[in-house]
Amino acid sequence: MAGLGRFGAGAFVAPALALIGLFLVFPALWTIYLGMTDYRLTGLQAVDPSFVGLDNYEQILGDPAFWRSLRLTLVFVLASGIVGQSLLGFAIAWALRRLTGWLKSVVETLVLAAWVIPASVASFLWIALLDRRGGTLNEILGTQGTAWLIEHPMAMIIIFNIWVGTAFSMLLFSSALASVPPSQLESARMAGASGWQQLRDVVIPNIRGHILTNTLLITLWTFNTFTPYLVTAGGPNGASEILAVYIYNTAIPGGQLGVGAAISLIMLLINLVIALGYLRVGRARAARPAEATAAETAGGAATS
């Protein structure tokens, strides 16, 4: 087909697959092996790691620091991702849906700017904002001397993550709201439905697919984000050490690469569960169009 043939097509795909295989698939699989060794960054085990079986997992599962990190991650994902970003994103999209002009542009631009600036810049902006002595927040609230990042580290990285990531939900819900057929909304309005009733009876059912997509993507991303490290580095004393940061601190500064890999595998498995959930929902949603396409292709082949 297309004059390419199986062989040519293979030659076209192979380089990309090789790169993906080496730097994406291989590390994922290698994690499984590494997690069962006592591999270290330095020292004797760096040269000659030995196989320790499930010892690392025993150590991790018995470590209260791991369970605390998992609990913190859960709180972080729920509060900043599912509740914070999704709800705020939807609220902004809803409030802006019929707005035009400068106010809409200003809000959109600010939310988007927070999203696109590099993470290390965004982090510093928040470190400056929350600074104990000269921070803007303390000036505004008149609470000089409050060390927000030390007294409320989790709350701060949650708010920070909402600030950084809301743009995605806003964009997704904006396009979702635009896809709601106006005739349905108009019918509801003519039946006398209030704004809230329109939202409940017309909008939400129409954008259910978008809501699921958004929730699952946000969950995945929030679960894996490393950016809070730039604000608190997991501290103080691990009080904001979400899983991604915990792995880093264990593996690189801590030097325990084997243990880090073992935690990574646990994280990968949790990711897999979330992603499979997404795929399942995605497939259920895509099933109908996909079938239509398949039918068309088959029809096209059969047609003269």
Binding site: M1, L4, G10, F26, P118, F124, L171, A275
Partner: protein
């Protein structure tokens, strides 16, 4: 006259009552919306405001304040040993990744779009899934070890390869969409005149898919430019570090941060990405798989 008075004294007709209640409610909801939006502007705007004011302040502090205008802070970038070099590093890594991803992605997506390989869609989905779960975070240990084994620690190539491997599935997915939308008759027509596959790609597919390629280029650049973890993990020598990592060391490793340098550096570092993003957003809108950054 009397008639008018009676009407005024009587309770308003039903229609007027019905009309007034929603109007009041409408006003309240409108007011709430405006207040809400104002709070949003404060929440998102105040942290960003520092980026707009501090670089131009002759004596910047951590707080947002009306600047005492100057451009001398930008001179501090030139005085720092690593600052300009880090932008060059970022540019090298960004450009390198773009080239790798575009070339490999274009070839692969074209082939995948045109040839029916059994299990093609499954493979594509699996890779997309893998790329979203094997983030830099979860695979950092083996990635570090792999790069170490390859002897590529402290090289830009390492970052280019790792980031390319991670973004290629998404890139192929997006580009395949573009390739799918190119009518096959274009290529068939070229084939009839004897064009080889690479000629078809060069003369027909690439020019037509140009918007898609441009989009992917910018998308990749945005991904790489701000990426912190991968270079942080793989590049330890300060001379080799891109701006994202250097920025972080500016405010963590040097005791008292130099706010003049930091603010100017942060602004210069952010501007290309903001400009590129808004350019693409204006041109292509929010049509692609949830926007530019993921």
């Amino acid at each position: 006259m009397t008639e008018t008075r009676t009407t005024a004294a009587a309770p308003p007709p039903l229609a007027a009552r019905v009309a007034r209640a929603p109007r009041a409610r409408h006003f309240v909801s409108r007011l709430l919306t405006v207040i809400g939006l104002a709070l949003l502007v404060v929440f998102f705007g105040v942290p960003l405001a520092w980026l707009a004011t501090a670089p131009f302040d002759s004596a910047p502090t951590l707080a947002v304040a009306w600047p005492d205008w100057t451009l001398s802070n930008f001179a501090a970038i030139g005085e720092n040993r690593y600052a300009i070099g880090s932008f060059v590093n970022s540019a090298i890594i960004g450009f390198g990744t773009c080239v790798v991803v575009l070339v490999l992605g274009a070839f692969a997506s074209y082939a995948l779009s045109r040839v029916r390989i059994p299990g093609r869609d499954g493979l594509l989905y699996a890779l997309l899934l893998l790329s979203s779960i094997v983030t830099g975070t979860a695979a950092m240990v083996p990635t570090f070890q792999l790069v170490n084994m390859l002897g590529l620690i402290d090289t830009h190539l390492a970052v280019v390869l790792v980031v390319s491997g991670g973004t290629l599935p998404t890139v192929i997915f997006i580009l395949k969409d573009f390739m799918d939308s190119i009518p096959r008759s274009y290529e068939e027509s070229a084939r009839l005149y004897g064009a080889r596959p690479w000629q078809i790609l060069r003369d027909v597919v690439v020019p037509i898919a140009r918007p898609g390629l441009a989009f992917v280029a910018v998308w990749t650049l945005v991904q790489v430019w701000g990426n912190f973890l991968v270079p942080y993990l793989l590049i330890r020598r300060t001379q080799q570090q891109p701006a994202a990592v250097l920025m972080y060391t500016f405010y963590t490793e040097s005791g008292q941060a130099d706010l003049r340098l930091l603010s100017a550096f942060a602004l210069i570092f952010s501007i290309p990405i903001i400009v590129m993003y808004f350019l693409v957003n204006r041109r292509y809108g929010f049509r692609f798989h949830g926007g530019i950054k993921s």
